[in-house]
Symmetry: C2
Subunit: 348 residues, 2 copies
DNA sequence: GTGAAAGCGCTAACAC
DNA sequence: GTGTTAGCGCTTTCAC
């Protein structure tokens, strides 16, 4: 690490040893909390460390350890149709990623493991893979939601420990965490039916994402089980703007819809805006059910009835799985599926 | 780096040398693009690298180089009154950070420098400082907006190259980039006046942030220059929800306001929502000017007239300053101030 | 133009 | 319980 001031290099373990009048090995033991060190010597060394302001050099340490005590949260986007800026705007505009980060931090931080976030749109994939191969981090939490995203496979080919945030689009041997998306969509369908809605429709997610597919097919099959077979669907891309446009489109073609399932809260917020413009009352004229239970669900009017995914818990589990596979090489790929629940608020 | 599969360690430079029938030094020269290598040998070595799938071990390299070719974008939040989750929700809900990242990436990526994002709320400050001291990165782009944030000073004390995203709350010797906040606020004031508004008010930013202070004082002093001295102000915290509440508060106390300057677009979007609920037409009844020109300004109705900060360019400049101070140790702290401009849309 | 050799700062056997 | 020693994988003088 270059120092812009101070000229001198940072203190080394060697200097601490000299200062404390012990060997390097002993200092190393103190730093690594090896129990077999005489308490008085330990204390002596700790004083020396404090006096000198010593901090272990991570490069030297990880050269021998092969550990960096840090992991990356890589947010992948395979699409090439978006510019960098659009992608980043989407990330930093969707509360989902904040929840993910919070959940992961919760288990990583107490373990002293650093978390760094890396956005990876298609043009950056190469650089991100290089970052991972170079060994900057011990493992990766990979957020990838497109069926065609090549990154999950490329990351596993690197033999870097990794955990995926959702069922992989293609079958690859990698640990992942997910919710039962179809079951969540079924909850939404049944809630709308219970509210007496029969002319139901949906604003779906992108059909090139497993989550988008599953929520749509789950919704439809739940309705089919109740004899409702004709369910209009308009796809969005999980952004608020797309929800707004999709709702406009949907209502133009099916003005009599009285129940609406929207595959993400952000899109639902957009839909709510369109409905307000069209003079539709929610839930009286149209009941709306969202998906995620993100912060957006509470921030809008009326507040959204939605399908809650326990995102924080899921991210925590991802982190736990990752730590396990870092610490026990040879660890088998494992997957954990969470349940989603219906949160009833004002919109349905 | 632990490998979860494959058992074997990644190939080393030594193996490449053996494979190519040259010395380690030569392979190293090829990798580091040292010009004085015989072209045929170079090619030979490159073939060996490709055949073996060699990637330099970053720990070994940076142990001697003291470079990691990566920098951190640290987003700091000194407040202890917020939970982790609130902070992360704020970050991943405010388009500002995406623009910052995009702007920095634009200059870092072509240089082969990795960028990692690290959210740092108060309880994490200690861990982040440790991360920086350990030398995981060569420098840091520090996003800090609170006057009382101790992180900027702590980071400079580490002697890690750093660039701040705004004028530091306390004077410390650190490079920074900023816009002339007062001048921006003046543009807003003059625009409202030019629109014939005289009963103007403002929803200000937090007064413990220089940006919040400057936008308020700049707005007031511009109006004072035109003989308007009584300017109601209600503070928010730059979030949409706070803008909504502040507008409600403001209008309750000053129902006759006809011009409103809101210190961030996100708050302005919230204010717009309140105004709509109150049946106020924008801009007919109340003209509204935002600040930032974020993506939110375009996504709302009516679209926001706002003060544009060239955030991407600013972040790019931060990255350039940082690279300079990494590459030329002893580099003096430097600051760059950008101009803001008024973007006229529908709301004023 | 290329190779030999000496570290970079740390950890982990292995002796004592 | 502590010290000695041999590397970890790479870069970089310094000879040749």
């Amino acid at each position: 690490m270059a120092r812009s001031t101070g000229g001198g290099r940072p203190p080394t373990l060697e200097q601490v040893a000299e200062f404390a009048g012990v060997s390097r090995a002993t200092v190393s033991r103190v730093i690594n909390a090896v129990p077999t060190v005489d308490p008085s010597i330990r204390e002596n060394v700790e004083r020396a460390i404090a006096a000198i302001g010593y901090v272990p050099n991570i490069a030297a340490r990880s050269l021998v350890n092969r550990r960096t005590d840090s992991v990356a949260l890589v947010i992948s986007e395979p699409g090439s149709r978006h510019y960098d800026a659009d992608f980043l705007n989407r990330i930093f505009t969707d509360p989902y990623f904040g929840r993910l980060t919070a959940g992961a931090q919760e288990v990583l931080r107490p373990q002293g493991v650093h978390l760094v976030i890396i956005p990876a749109d298609a043009p950056a994939h190469h650089q991100v893979l290089r970052y991972l191969r170079q060994g900057h981090v011990d493992g990766v939490l990979l957020i990838s939601s497109h069926v065609a995203d090549p990154l999950p496979r490329q990351v596993t080919d690197l033999h870097v420990p990794a955990v995926l945030s959702a069922r992989p689009g293609q079958p690859i041997p990698i640990s992942f965490v997910d919710t039962d998306q179809r079951a969540g969509a079924r909850l939404a369908a049944e809630h709308l039916l219970a509210r007496g809605r029969r002319r139901v429709a949906t604003i779906a997610g992108p059909q090139d994402m497993p989550a988008g597919e599953d929520r749509l097919s789950g919704f439809r099959s739940a309705l089919a089980a109740h004899g409702i077979h004709d369910v209009p669907a308009v796809p969005g891309d999980f952004t608020q703007a797309s929800g707004e446009a999709a709702a406009r489109d949907l209502l133009a073609r099916h003005p009599d819809v009285d129940g609406l399932f929207v595959a993400s809260d952000l899109m639902a917020v957009g839909a709510l805006r369109t409905l307000a413009e069209l003079g539709k009352r929610v839930p009286e004229d149209i009941a709306v059910v969202g998906f995620d239970d993100s912060s957006a669900a509470l921030a809008c009017r009326p507040q959204l009835t939605t399908i809650r995914q326990p995102v924080e818990e899921m991210a925590g589990e991802m982190a736990r799985l990752l730590l396990a596979s870092i610490r026990e090489p040879g660890h088998l790929a494992r997957s954990v599926i969470f349940n989603s629940t219906l949160v009833e608020r004002e919109s349905a």
